[in-house]
């Protein structure tokens, strides 16, 4: 048993314990903080599974941005009054739920323990796509995302935009067109303003670097875009920037740019390379980077809009 086995066992126990504390904690804010910590520990598990790109995404989106979303939500939902009818579930319900949860977990664990010894793998096809007609990329995950499974990624960007539209339409009819409520109501502390002023430029640079380097090394459009989104959110939290009106043209253009460029290039692939979403072989890498640039823009604009929430009617037009 090497040292790594001990690390794995310790990490597993830690992850399960922190997840259990997320469920068991009494206060909402403590549970959300516990969830953010759990997300960061999960990034370690991903590293142990040889998945650095997923670890980056989990730490940035799963831990960071989801944490901001939930903490902002918890803050907005508390002020008025405590609900009088939040009944504690009965003991019978708890026991039944625990039994159901245990059964599901055991079924899943049994399925995992009975996985076939010769694991099926799509790696050869993905490798063929990455090196041959697909791209000349050094990072196979980016090659899979933009070349081998490009249609899936484009659809996922569209899902992101649909989520933004859904969040906007949840506001009242009168509020359509306004800006969402600012992320911070009172004046921010000077330390927060300093933090935003110091971190946002560096963070933006690092985000662009992670996106650019993702063609050949761990990284990519999602991770870089999430970092840029976090920087905009930080600027909003320090009131150095405001959530913009949802009918602002630049906002809507930026949101749509990612999937639109993707779709146009995919359709152009019919003319240039013979089939839907095929790239001409010698132009593959520049095309992929071009698509990814607009994807980063869309992600960096969509995530803060999702966190900012529906448009607020109380503001002046």
């Amino acid at each position: 048993m090497s040292v790594l086995t001990f690390i794995d066992i310790g990490l597993s126990i830690l992850v399960v314990t922190v997840a259990a504390s997320t469920i068991v904690m009494r206060e909402l804010f403590a549970a959300v903080v516990s969830y953010v910590a759990y997300g960061l520990l999960l990034a370690f598990v991903w590293i142990r599974l040889h998945a650095p790109d997923v670890a980056l995404t989990e730490a940035a989106v799963g831990g960071g941005v989801t944490g901001v979303l939930l903490i902002t939500a918890g803050k907005r939902l508390v002020p008025l009054r405590r609900t009088a009818t939040e009944a504690e579930p009965t003991l019978i319900l708890k026991v039944l739920a625990a039994t159901l949860a245990a059964l599901v977990a055991c079924a899943l664990a049994a399925a995992i323990l009975m996985l076939p010894d010769e694991p099926p793998s799509l790696a050869p096809e993905a490798a063929a796509a990455a090196s041959g007609p697909g791209a000349g990329l050094g990072n196979p995950i980016t090659a899979v995302l933009i070349s081998y499974r490009s249609f899936d990624t484009m659809l996922e960007k569209i899902v992101l935009i649909l989520a933004v539209v859904a969040v906007w339409s949840i506001g009242t009819d009168r509020a359509w067109g306004n800006a969402p409520a600012p992320l911070r109501q009172a004046r921010p502390y000077p330390a927060m303003v300093f933090l935003a002023q110091a971190l946002v430029p560096i963070g933006a640079l690092i985000g662009i670097h992670i996106f650019w380097v993702g063609a050949d090394a761990p990284g990519g459009a999602f991770q870089g875009g999430a970092l840029l989104a976090a920087m905009w959110m930080m600027a909003m939290m320090a009131q150095l920037a405001e959530p913009s009106r949802i009918d602002a043209r630049w906002l809507r253009l930026a949101l749509v740019a990612g999937p639109a460029v993707f779709l146009v290039i995919g359709l152009a692939g019919i003319l240039m390379a013979g089939s839907f979403f095929a790239y001409p072989p010698n132009l593959a890498k520049p095309i992929i980077l071009f698509i990814e640039t607009f994807m980063v823009l869309s992600i960096a604009v969509a995530l803060p809009m999702l966190v900012a929430g529906p448009p607020n009617e109380g503001l002046e037009p």
């Binding site: 502390y189 330390a191 927060m192 300093f194 933090l195 110091a198 971190l199 560096i202």
Partner: protein, 95 residues
């Protein structure tokens, strides 16, 4: 020569780990949020700095070493500012 380098690395990373343990013990055992904040920030800055110092001789080029030091500097900035914000919020009575 490599023996000395290894010794330096083990000492640096070991001391860094000790600071992290001390910070965690402080988080668990100190009576009050402000004192816990104090323990945490010491663990963050010093512990991470020593660990980064221990990792520096192993890097293959200057760029990676620079990135490691940049990570430490970013944690320093954000940790310090966050501690200020938490302390200010604690002092003004909010949670």
């Amino acid at each position: 020569m490599t023996f000395l380098v290894d010794l330096f690395r083990i000492t640096a990373i070991g001391t860094g780990a000790f600071f992290f343990v001390a910070g965690t013990v402080g988080l668990l055992r100190f009576p009050d949020s402000l004192t816990r904040l104090h323990a945490l920030t010491k663990a963050d800055n010093l512990g991470l700095g020593l660990v980064v110092l221990g990792l520096l001789p192993l890097t293959e080029n200057v760029l990676v070493a620079f990135k490691l030091i940049l990570i430490w500097a970013l944690v320093l900035i954000s940790g310090g500012s966050t501690a200020q914000l938490i302390g200010r919020a604690l002092r003004s009575g909010r949670r």
